[in-house]
Symmetry: C3
Subunit: 300 residues, 3 copies
């Protein structure tokens, strides 16, 4: 799964249903020795670990790939590395890379590529797990009002979430500092003042400030950012009774969100992480079944 | 297992017995997919590898966690990382960290934390494997005279060993350079001149000089240290016929011990490493059984 | 397997036959929990990954060893590290190291050492997979003319390939820049002008320029090297109709070989990578069977 836009809405719904079955205890194990490799060219805990857990739960064998100790450090291109893994018998490569659309250079590869984040581009597996989390809460995405707030311009999560939610029938709103306003996002939703947005939305998704992607140093003090654009307790108090808070994490505590709200009643932040494993299992299984691999299902 | 002091002597004896059963060929495999992660924020060969072998022998699935490529490098706290792993479904986190009592910040975590060394604090799994090694030799700890020599002040091994051995009924003696004298240790044993100590003890435990923990450069030349505070052949010759030599390793050959003594007849240094795997299997199994996980036992 | 020269020709032929059986779908799984560790002190994608896939296909349990986070970073010697792994229960250590004949220091080790490349020394598993690739093409090595071209002096591949092919009855030719001429190679073959060699050989093996092993900066521009010593399309056109091109990879595209030839009809470069897994399975199995371990064979 490289881009959600290449996958039919039917298939996305099938993936979401299977993910929920995994949440409910279904076990699927692939037949035979099938190899996956996780190529993370950017730091990661959640995404990397949850893909690894997902792979192992599906019975895949996971190859330990370290970018900085690979032949990429000897000057080999990403394409040649991927074709090498393919020749060696790896069936699935999960890739995170700082370059937007790194996968365009890999279109000759025959192994499956699962995009685990391409720079400021997209992050499809996060959108699937976010959708799963919202559906668990509200039964569906259609008709919901979903707010995405913060560093919209640099966020691959904002990009993938907004596209998927709009497609599944939600109304999407954005907020955050003006200099992170992203005109390209207007196809998926509208901008709104944060203080208005918090009262309006069913789902409030806060984004991590992507310090590592800003050209100049981020000029706000944490307290000032929290006061102006973060979720303070005052803002949280204005949310609708049934509304929930999400964040892809890692969280800058006290910046995007008051530290005490991270585990408040409305927060689904750790629920998102739990769902991440099951969403990724469903994505991997979808991909491998399409390639003809068989799974044996059972109940826990 | 975070601190040995929180575990009853009965439980410690149960762990030691099970460890010996593993030495004797017992096989235990956990039921279902259970995940462990090894978080080593300090370099390690022995402890990390032996935990990993222990986990895999017990049938646990091991997640590859690299601190320097995780979101900790993006500023995530250790607690948030641990709660992430917990959400993702990791049941056991084995942690080594340079900060003493790092685990105090993790008391909200629900997954099991196994302390694999906290700075100059403690190293409980080393104490268990050391006890196992001594019991294999003498049948029991009670009544033995055990000497711990060297960098007592900076040694988490000294700390954990001394506490456990005293509790199990041994008499503990310390020696080493005066500036590494540690008053806090006097609750567990007494200081003695090294040349007296070697003649007295049944078990001589040499400590590694912790170069990485000294504020200023270590001012001895290796030869001088060996002569004054290390185990030379002359000192070894004065040991009782049945006495044994131990060292947690890695060894600074020619500093704490004459290189030729590392594998002499009295040395149990490699035996300690062998026992490390079995001791850690027993620790992990003890912890997981307490949480309700089941194991299937068989004989090799 | 440390050196091919220590293994009888009969055993090498047995290994090559078993490797071909793995290519043809034979499955072998080792009985019991047997541990392997891959110690790569130099960057690698192909060799490290294909050993890891080979180990996992054989049912070995693979320990994650990272040289730079091990006790080697605390000053432990390679021998003490290996003896530690041995004590911990590791049966096979696959080692790549920048030092030629690093294994001489390890002769006291009881675990199996598989040499995955020792500096400018040798690379036995590459020679086995190269032989397998050639036999798949021509049915045998005997009587073939094999050219090895490029950085002969710094290439452990050249060294191992030439020795094995000569021993199996091939005529070996070398070419490349004069300053990489290696007199020691004359026992295994003769030097020839590249433009003559391309017309003559059945198998053309191009070597990677080992930038990391050159004392001074490599003084050619890539285009100039390609024109003088690389495989251009003009040279390729002069090869015999049945001749094939090989390269151990990673490839410096546009230097040793015109980028467009990397996947041309004559190229067996990706076939070599595929064979790498099967050759390494055969090597590991050969070694472990000699130590008394049993495998259960089946057909895919």
């Amino acid at each position: 799964m490289i881009k959600l836009s290449r996958i039919s809405t039917d298939s996305i719904e099938k993936i979401l249903q299977e993910a929920q079955q995994f949440v409910d205890g279904k076990i699927s194990k692939i037949k035979g020795d099938v190899f996956a490799a996780n190529l993370f060219f950017e730091n990661s805990t959640r995404t990397k670990t949850s893909f690894e857990v997902a792979e192992k739960k599906l019975g895949l064998k996971v190859i330990d790939f370290e970018a900085d100790k690979s032949s990429i450090a000897k000057g080999e291109t990403l394409l040649d590395t991927i074709k090498t893994l393919e020749a060696i018998g790896v069936e699935v490569a999960v890739i995170r890379h700082s370059e937007k659309r790194y996968y365009d250079a890999l279109k000759d590869a025959k192994l499956s590529i699962i995009n685990a984040g391409d720079g400021v581009g997209s992050h499809p597996s996060q959108a699937i797990l976010d959708a799963l989390t919202i559906i668990q809460e509200f039964g569906k995405i259609e008709g919901l009002k979903i707010g995405i707030v913060g560093d919209v311009k640099h966020s691959r999560v904002a990009n993938s979430d907004a596209g998927l939610f709009r497609r599944l029938g939600a109304k999407v709103y954005f907020s955050g500092p003006e200099f992170w306003f992203d005109e390209g996002m207007l196809v998926n939703g509208t901008y709104m003042q944060f203080d208005d947005l918090v009262k309006e939305v069913d789902v409030l998704i806060l984004l991590r400030i992507q310090h590592e992607r800003h050209e100049r140093n981020f000029s706000f003090k944490p307290e000032d950012y929290l006061k102006k654009f973060g979720l303070t307790k005052e803002r949280e108090a204005k949310m609708k009774p049934t509304s929930i808070i999400m964040h892809p994490a890692p969280i800058n505590r006290g910046v995007e969100i008051d530290s005490e709200l991270v585990e408040c009643e409305r927060s689904r932040i750790f629920k998102q992480m739990q769902n991440g494993v099951f969403a990724r299992m469903a994505i991997l299984k979808y991909d491998l079944e399409n390639k003809g691999f068989e799974f044996i299902d059972s109940k826990n």
